[in-house]
């Protein structure tokens, strides 16, 4: 079936990516990042960034309000837990649908403008959602205390089959509890499906039309394309990805707060995408992992760890080095991230993926052209 077909190259990339994701508990160990909570975040924010890249990377429309869809996804999932069932699938499905509808409305209004005006409109709508969640919409969002599970939740579907347990329930999949590693593997499978669909979009005529819009929207119009529904579809798809990520956050920790919708969260996904490589498939994933790593691990380094790390330096210099380095870790992690971001944008405008490509090109220059390069000029 055409739906499940990938080119050989894409199938290989998917297989390698699956291998990397599934073995994450192994290769994150040396970095001290192999605890389930963080790996869940790696998978979830990778989905968020992949989806964001479908809009920003392909159409060039820079949204500054995608955290709103993340928040909507989380709220929807928690409500699904409260009202229906602790099973994760209905929660994900509902979250994707509701955030998609939300994206349809915001996208329809925001796409009346392009460039910076589009960005400002999305930012405005997201901040509006954030503030509404704290004020008018508190019956739905539970305001500052965040939306949480309670012992009195109706959970209509669950309680029709079982009796209420003593404590708060946890999310599950067909009866299997999703916490810790099982939670991570659930997120990982969803990530792989999300990645596969992004590959389909990138390789499809639809993806090519989106690239055309980014490259020259006016030419697209004079070529016979109605560009706005194309951009809107990309916007809705990326909103659904964000909603999916938000729902997974709720699956791994059934709690939804409005701070998830704040503009800093929207900015974070922009950073992830640019850091990794706009318009590439893998780039946003790498950006997401790097930023989440910095946020969670780098920020917990203290002078004790640094002191041990710089043990090899003789005593008089040792304290100075540790003192300087300590400014860049712990609470100073954002300084390091900022410097890294500046370096990448200045020297590698295509993000980490451009660095990978350049290194690859260096290696290829040393070798004679291979069969792959021959295909560029087939016989007439």
């Amino acid at each position: 079936m055409a739906l499940f077909q990938l080119s050989r190259r894409d199938a290989l990339i998917l297989a390698l990516f699956a291998l990397v994701v599934v073995t994450m508990p192994v290769w994150t160990a040396p970095f001290g990042a192999n605890y389930p909570g963080l790996m869940q975040k790696f998978a979830i924010y990778a989905i968020f960034a992949i989806g964001f890249n479908i809009l920003f990377g392909l159409t060039g429309y820079l949204s500054f309000g995608h955290a709103a869809f993340l928040g909507v996804g989380s709220y929807t999932a928690v409500w699904s837990f409260k009202l229906l069932t602790m099973d994760a699938l209905p929660a994900l499905l509902l979250a994707v649908v509701i955030s998609g509808l939300f994206a349809l409305v915001i996208g329809f209004l925001s796409l009346r403008r392009s460039g910076i005006y589009f960005s400002i409109l999305t930012l405005a709508f997201a901040q509006m959602s954030y503030n509404l969640a704290y004020s008018v919409l508190t019956p739905i969002t539970n305001g500052e205390t965040s939306l949480q599970l309670t012992l009195q939740d109706p959970r209509l579907i669950d309680l029709a089959f079982t009796t209420r347990g003593a404590g708060l329930p946890t999310a599950s999949l067909f009866g299997v509890t999703l916490s810790g590693l099982s939670g991570f593997y659930f997120c990982a499978v969803v990530l792989l499906i999300a990645f596969f669909f992004a590959q389909k979009v990138f390789a499809s005529p639809f993806g090519m039309m989106l690239r055309g819009i980014k490259s020259n929207q006016m030419r697209m119009s004079y070529t016979g394309f109605n560009t706005r529904p194309y951009a809107l579809t990309a916007f809705v798809i990326s909103g659904m990805y964000a909603g999916l990520a938000g729902a997974l956050l709720a699956v791994t920790d059934p709690l939804a707060g409005a701070e998830r919708m704040q503009w800093t969260a929207s900015g974070e996904v922009v950073l992830m995408t640019i850091l990794g490589g706009v318009g590439t498939l893998i780039g946003p994933v790498m950006g997401a992992w790097l930023i989440k790593y910095f946020e969670n691990i780098f920020s917990s380094f203290n002078e004790g760890i640094l002191s041990r790390f710089f043990d090899f330096i003789p005593a008089p210099l040792h304290d100075t080095v540790v003192a300087i380095a300590s400014k860049f870790v712990g609470e100073g992690w954002q300084l390091t991230l900022g410097l890294l971001f500046v370096l990448v944008v200045v020297f590698l405008p295509g993000g980490i993926m451009e660095g990978v490509r350049r290194i690859g090109a260096l290696f290829r220059r040393g070798n004679p052209p291979k069969a792959g390069a021959m295909r560029v000029q087939p016989a007439e």
Partner: protein
């Protein structure tokens, strides 16, 4: 020839366009017959590009209307006008600089096949062999076959023009508007383009062409309209226009310029 035999496919009906107090176009009437190449010539600032912009829907006329094949184009959006079978080559090439040459030519082919909007994520572009073959054949026609995997933004200006022409041709438009299609080209490339346009003419495609190069105009045009100061000051067969004194004063700057192209 009686009027019933003439099949007018494009009708510019009493079009005027003002920019503030400036009358860019005044009472323009133009009839383009099916299968013919209609050249519009005139000095700089005569309103030639404005007229093309009005036809293609980029500018709304202050008064008057443009009718193509019984359909009023005025007020329609650019993509709707294109879907009716009107394609345009711009004065400054409008291409997709971030895509490859082959992709640049394939994108318009999708517009022709799938219409103004279709979300197609099931089948990859790689599997669209028929469209790719067609695009490669047209690139062969315009002489860009060996550049098909290049980045379009890296092409020379002349190559960009030829690629833009290929982008229009793959749509098999019923009406092709060309805004100085050979500007910036070498003599050799110009002649190649003339040959190409003559080949298209043999297929019966209607064309409106704006051109400064009289060699190109007299090689291709079936009919010429001379625009000056936003008005049509002369119209007729190439030989009639060539002999028209008024034209020579307004545009050609005397008979010696014309002798040069004989």
């Amino acid at each position: 020839m009686t009027t019933t035999e003439r099949n007018v496919v494009l009708h510019v009906d009493d079009v005027s366009k003002n920019f503030g107090g400036l009358h860019a176009l005044s009472d323009i009437d133009l009839e383009v017959e099916e299968g013919q190449t209609h050249a519009i010539i005139g000095p700089n600032g005569a309103g030639k590009s404005t007229l093309l912009n009005v036809i293609i829907g980029r500018l709304a006329p202050t008064s008057g209307a443009v009718v193509f094949d019984g359909q009023v184009l005025t007020g329609k959006k650019p993509h709707q006008i294109n879907q009716l079978g009107v394609a345009r080559v711009f004065q400054t090439p409008e291409i997709f600089p971030d895509l490859t040459v082959l992709q640049n030519v394939m994108v318009p082919a999708f517009a022709r096949r799938d219409g103004a909007f279709r979300v197609n994520v099931l089948r990859s572009v790689e599997r669209e062999a028929a469209l790719r073959d067609e695009a490669e054949a047209i690139l062969e026609d315009v002489g860009l076959a060996d550049r098909r995997l290049s980045h379009a933004g890296a092409l020379s200006r002349g190559d960009k023009r030829r690629m833009e022409l290929a982008m229009c041709l793959i749509q098999h438009p019923r009406l092709l508007l060309l805004d100085e299609p050979t500007a910036g080209m070498s003599r050799h490339d110009t002649n190649t383009t003339i040959d190409l346009l003559q080949k298209i003419k043999a297929r019966g495609m209607t064309k409106v062409i704006i051109e400064h190069d009289m060699h190109v105009v007299f090689s291709l045009a079936d009919k010429i309209s001379v625009l000056s100061g936003g008005r049509i000051i002369a119209e007729g067969l190439p030989d009639e226009v060539r002999g028209n004194i008024k034209v020579q004063e307004a545009y050609l700057g005397g008979a010696h310029r014309l002798e040069a192209v004989h």
